[in-house]
Each structure stands twice: as C-alpha cells, then as structure tokens.
C-alpha cells in the first residue's frame, strides 16, 4: 500500500494525547500524550524498548485500560471508557486482540478457544442456530494459521508457537476491523513467523483489515506501512526502511527514567 493510498483511506482509530501513569510509590508516567491515527487497511508497527509502554498503549486502544487523560476515537466517535457495555461490544465485535502471552482458556480446546468471541457474543439460543457457521469459520481460520491438526487439543498440550497461532485465529474470528497484536511473532521460529507475517499482510491488503502490532521483529516491522517508535511515552514516526535498533541500542534508551 503506497503512502498516497494510505492517506486517502478513512481513519478508523485515533488516539489524542493519551496519558497513563502507574503508581509505584511515586507516580510513574508510562504514556505521556500519545497521538496516533490508524487508517483502514493500514498496517502499523509500534516498536520500542521493553517496558516502555507498548502493551499499555495497545490496552488503552482496545478499551481494556482507561487512560488518565486523552481520548480514543473510533470511526469519528469518541469512545467513552466508562460505558462498559459499549466497550464490551466494541472489544467483541470491532477489535481483534492478540495478547503478548497468548491467553487461551485452559478448560477449552483449541477450536473452542478460537470460537470464544462468538460464544461470548451469542446467547445459548442464537448460538444453537448459528453453531455450524461459527464452527466452520473457526475451522477455516485454524487451517489458515496451520493448526488444522490440533483442533481438539487443550492449550496445555500445544507449543508456544501453536498457542500464538490459535490466539491469532481467535482474534480474527469475529471479522474485526482492527487487529491489535502484541508481538504476534514473538514466540515463533523464522519460518512460522514468516507464515504469520504473510497472513497479516494478506488480511490487511485483501480484507482491508487495519493492524496495529507491537514487535521486536525487524523483519515484520519492515513489511508494515509505518513504523512508530514509542520513546519517553510518545510516538515518533520512523522511516519504514530504517534499520531497527540492535539490542545494545535498546538498552541505551534509559529504562530508569521509565520512558
């Protein structure tokens, strides 16, 4: 997707001056005014040192966390974090979430975990009438992430990479408009990681899915439309072809000042 194209597409998610601090004895600011626009079909990578607040930002964007200051706008409407029902619906229907630590439910098998967003959305009766469709879609997604042979395995019997892929399948089940992915390739070998990267690119290109992903993977970051670096609680745009900092560079960004 070229820059020109991207600029024309509709902005679906926008954050304005997001601030978030935590209290650890004293107030520790993590985000200090994050402004971000995500357009339809756009793929944005957020990079930054460990502990600089990338996950926190993703949580705020997905209404899981409430910012201390600043606003999140969804398709031209301001999201009110206090309206719990609206936020629940938003999370269920409009966003797909891939967590840094997979987060599958141990009591359900892989397929059921993938179906979970639909299970949450449907009541027992509507589920009954739509169960075939839901199941078929979940199976399709499992195949797509390469887990077709692991459908009835419990999470405890899956490897880290398989869990990651199940989590990605789950995030796509509800056909979200925005995918928030926290290190989606963090636990995968180069080959599987490549598969996932291709999948994400495909989704963004063909199905116009907007993706915001957090990554330490230079390979993945390179393939996105934009790379943003979270430094000292704010986002700085980087050239897409800039080389990502090496580990030594990472450490330079002083973590003691809780960027």
């Amino acid at each position: 997707m070229s820059d020109a194209e991207t600029n024309e597409a509709e902005v679906i998610l926008e954050t304005k001056g997001i601030c978030r601090s935590y209290f650890r004895g004293t107030e520790v600011p993590v985000l200090r005014g994050v402004d971000l626009e995500v357009r339809r079909g756009e793929m944005v990578a957020i990079v930054g040192a460990s502990g600089c607040g990338k996950s926190t930002l993703l949580h705020v964007m997905g209404t899981l966390d409430v910012p201390d200051a600043g606003e999140v706008w969804w398709r031209g409407k301001k999201i009110d974090h206090r309206k719990r029902r609206a936020c629940d619906r938003f999370r269920n229907e409009s966003v797909g979430y891939v967590f840094q630590f997979y987060h599958l439910l141990p009591e359900l098998n892989a397929l059921e975990n993938v179906m979970l967003p639909a299970l949450i959305r449907e009541s027992i009766f509507t589920y009954w009438t739509r169960r075939r469709g839901i199941r078929k879609r979940a199976e399709e997604l499992m195949e797509r992430v390469g887990l077709g042979h692991r459908m009835d395995h419990r999470p405890a019997h899956l490897s880290g990479g398989e869990l990651q892929r199940a989590a990605i399948a789950r995030s796509l089940l509800g056909d979200p408009e925005l995918l928030l992915a926290d290190e989606p390739t963090g636990n995968l070998d180069a080959e599987t990681g490549e598969g996932i990267i291709q999948l994400l690119c495909e989704l963004s290109r063909d199905e116009n899915l907007s993706i915001v992903l957090v990554t330490h993977d230079a390979e993945l970051a390179k393939r996105t439309d934009r790379v943003l670096r979270l430094v000292q609680g704010a986002l700085i745009e980087e050239g897409a072809d800039d080389v990502l900092p090496v580990a030594g560079h990472l450490d330079e960004s002083p973590s003691s000042m809780a960027c």
Binding site: H59, G62, L64, D65, R84, R85, D88, R89, F90, R91, N92, E93, Y97, F99, F101, H103, L104, L105, P106, E107, L108, E112, L116, P117, L119, I120, R121, E122, S123, I124, Y127, R170
Partner: protein, 445 residues
C-alpha cells in the same frame, strides 16, 4: 453461551469443587432423614391422640360432672346434630389403683386416671377397640371376663377367697401400668393379667368428697403406645363408676365424633354458644393436646434450624472453594472480558456454577435421603445385626418400627434452602470476579 460452556467445563475439571457437592449432599440427606423421622413420629402421635380423644370433647368444669347427660346430648344434637356421627358420655377422675402380684409377692399402688366409659359407645367415637389387647374386645369391646381371664382364674382358684366371688365390675388397665421390662429383657413382663383383681379408690362427688374403694376384675389391657395414656388410664364401666361415686346419672365429659373432622372448629364454636361456659368446656382434640403438639412443633423447628447449619457449613465450603477458583481463574476472567464478556456475564458464570453445584448436591442428597428414609427400618436392623447397637429401642419409643414419613413439600423446601445457600455462597466470589479489571487480570502470567 460461553457461560454454560465454562460452567460445565469447570464442573468436570475442577474436582475440588465436588467436595462442596458432597457436603451439600450430606446436609440435604440428613435433613430429609431427620425430618421424615420426626414427621413420622409426629404423625403417628397425632393419629394416636386423635384416636383416643375423638374429634370434639365437651367437658365439665368440675370433677362432679353434669347431670342429665341425655338432655345435654339432645341439646348438642339440636345445635350440630347433622354433623355428628357418634357421641358418648364418660367420667374422668383421679383415682388410686392397688394390686398384688403373687409371683413377686409384692403389692403395687399407683395414682391413675379412672375413666368410666360405655365401651361400645367409646369405640364408636375413636379407636378404643383397636387399642385393646384381647382380639374379642377389639371387635366388640366390653367389660366382661373373656376366655383368657376365666382360664387364669380357674388355674389360680386357690388365690381367691370363694366367699367374695367374682367382682361385679370389670376393668381395663393401661398396658404400662400392668407390665414392666427389666434391663436385658426382650419382652414385657406382666404384673397383672386378665382374671386378677385390683382395688380402685376414688372420691365421691358432692359436697364433701369422701374416699370410696371397690374390687374390680381385670378383663383386658389398653395399649395405645402413647406412654401418657398407657401408664395412666384405667377404664371401668360408666354405670359402676357413677354408682361408686354416688353421682346419679352425672358424667364429666361427652366425646363427639364428627362426620367430617374439618368441621371441628365450627362445631366447637356452635357448642360454646349453645352450652353455658360456667359448666362446660368445649375443645377440639387438638386444643386439648395443645401444649404437647406445640412442643413437638417447636422441637422440630429448632432441630431444623440446627440442621440447616449443616447446609450453611457446606455453603461456607463453597464460598472458600469459589474464592480459590476465582483467584486461580483471574487471568481467564481477564481474557473473557478482553474478548467482550460483560461483568454480569462473568458473574453469572460463577453464580451458575455455584447453583449447579448446589443442584447436583441436592439431587444426590435427595436420592440418598429418600432411599434411607424408605429403608430406614432395614438399615436399623442391619446396623443392629452388625454392631449389636440398638439405635431405636422400642421400649423407649413405643413404636415397633421407626415411623418415617416422607413429606414431598419438606423435601422441596430443603432443596430450595440448599440451592439458596449454594447460590448465596457463590455471590461474593462472583462479585469479586465481575469487579476484576481486565488489564490487571491479564497481568497474571
């Protein structure tokens, strides 16, 4: 949908929670068994009391009684005749019973309640006949010596002074007055049998009560299995008692059996209006036994409260286990919320889980409780056979069998209580789960 799925998964994967099922089950079982046995006792007791007392009793306010019972009875008939099936006059006074047991060489003197009755009339208003030991008397109650009594007298003719002859009046003596049972004895021993003689002493009616005594021949025993009656009642013919007490045709009570027992309160009301209250005291049998029935009721209520604590304990078990589960599931709760589950939905998972645990416990409790209740006598027997422990000695309880009676309504209430407690115990953990903030929950790794 996820609520049902997770509920059932938690149920089949968290075995620790099944312990709370067991505690609910035991609580429900205990309550059902104890209530059935208590209810059975109560029911038996009521039946017996009812059988002895008949439906409505018109009593004199004085031991001297009232004259012209026929006239009173026609007044009663005029007032509520259409509702009456049978009525009979009776005299009840205090007396003294004295007899000698030749085998033991000992004499016995006991305070008793002396009841003058017309045996056939008495049998018509209640279960008098059923409580008589001699089968002939059960069919056709009378104060005549029956075969067993005559036989005994013939065999032991040497004990009697022929000069005195057979006493004119017969008497029927309460079973517990006439028998005893020592420790290690399996059968009641008779102190006095039909054919033997007793001396009764009572007082005359009138201005100055004077003691009078007379010899009576024992013709039968009265056994209602209600200790209060069996250890106090001595029956004799109404006419004879009137004569001894020099009270003419006066009686102290009229017992009335109604066609429909449900009319009792109405009949009592009508009779209270028809008869002067200074002389007559009209009561239903339940009024007359009021304090006793009340005591039984209170006893049952207290016992139920205590037993309910058993289920409450099970409830605290659920509470503790649920807190643990919620704590353990913090991350999962965060996931569910992150995927759009509402707070109420998450709360419902745990409420439903608690409710289902309660339900499963209750169902097993009902199955176990009902089967124990239905087979309680066999179980008691088996325990006796194996351990020699007699859980239910008949000489204490007066029933040959444990009179368990299953009341469906009671079972329903017990189950409702158990379900309520199980649900209530899961409320706190469920609220805690619903209050969890997703980000914090997700930080658990």
């Amino acid at each position: 949908m996820y609520k049902h799925l997770l509920c059932s998964r938690y149920l089949t994967t968290r075995y620790i929670a099944l312990f709370s099922v067991v505690s609910v089950m035991l609580g429900v079982t205990t309550m059902i068994v104890v209530n059935s046995v208590m209810g059975g006792f109560r029911q038996r007791m009521l039946e017996r009391l009812h059988g002895i007392l008949s439906d409505v009793i018109v009593e004199s306010t004085t031991m001297d009684g009232f004259r012209h019972p026929d006239e009173i009875m026609s007044r009663i008939n005029a007032a509520v005749g259409d509702k009456i099936e049978a009525m009979t006059p009776a005299i009840e006074v205090f007396g003294m019973l004295h007899f000698q047991n030749n085998g033991l060489g000992q004499t016995f003197t006991r305070p008793v309640r002396l009841v003058g009755v017309d045996p056939k009339g008495r049998a018509a208003v209640g279960e008098f006949g059923d409580h008589l030991l001699n089968a002939d008397n059960s069919k056709d109650p009378s104060f005549e010596l029956r075969a067993d009594g005559k036989e005994w007298r013939e065999k032991n003719a040497d004990l009697f002074d022929p000069k005195f002859g057979v006493p004119k009046a017969g008497s029927i003596i309460g079973y517990q007055i006439a028998t005893f049972r020592g420790s290690n004895m399996f059968e009641d021993q008779f102190l006095i049998r039909p054919g033997q003689e007793v001396v009764i002493t009572t007082v005359t009616a009138g201005r100055k009560p004077e003691p009078v005594s007379d010899r009576l021949v024992v013709v039968d025993h009265f056994r209602s299995d209600m200790s209060e009656y069996d250890s106090n009642y001595v029956f004799m013919p109404l006419k004879e008692l009137q004569e001894r007490r020099r009270m003419g045709d006066a009686v102290t009570a009229i017992q009335i059996k109604l066609k429909d027992e449900a009319d009792s309160p109405a009949v009592v009301g009508a009779l209270r209006a028809a008869l002067p209250p200074t002389f007559f005291h009209v009561q239903t049998w339940e009024d007359k036994q009021g304090p006793l029935l009340q005591a039984v009721k209170v006893e049952a209520a207290i016992l139920n409260i205590i037993l309910f604590f058993i289920i409450a304990v099970a409830g605290f078990g659920i509470l503790a286990i649920f807190y643990m589960i919620v704590y353990e599931k913090t991350r999962d709760i965060g996931i569910l919320k992150a995927l759009g589950a509402s707070n109420v939905g998450v709360m419902n998972i745990f409420l439903g889980y608690g409710f289902i645990l309660g339900l499963v416990g209750s169902v097993f409790g009902v199955i176990l409780g009902v089967s124990i209740t239905l087979n309680i006598n066999e179980i008691e027997e088996t325990i006796y056979k194996w351990t020699g422990l007699e859980l239910f000695p008949p000489d204490i309880y007066y029933f040959k069998e444990i009179p368990a009676q299953l009341d469906p309504m009671t079972v329903v209430w017990i189950v409702a209580g158990a379900l309520f407690i199980a649900a209530a115990a899961s409320v706190l953990p469920a609220i805690r789960a619903s209050k969890l903030r997703p980000v914090e929950a997700l930080r658990y790794e």
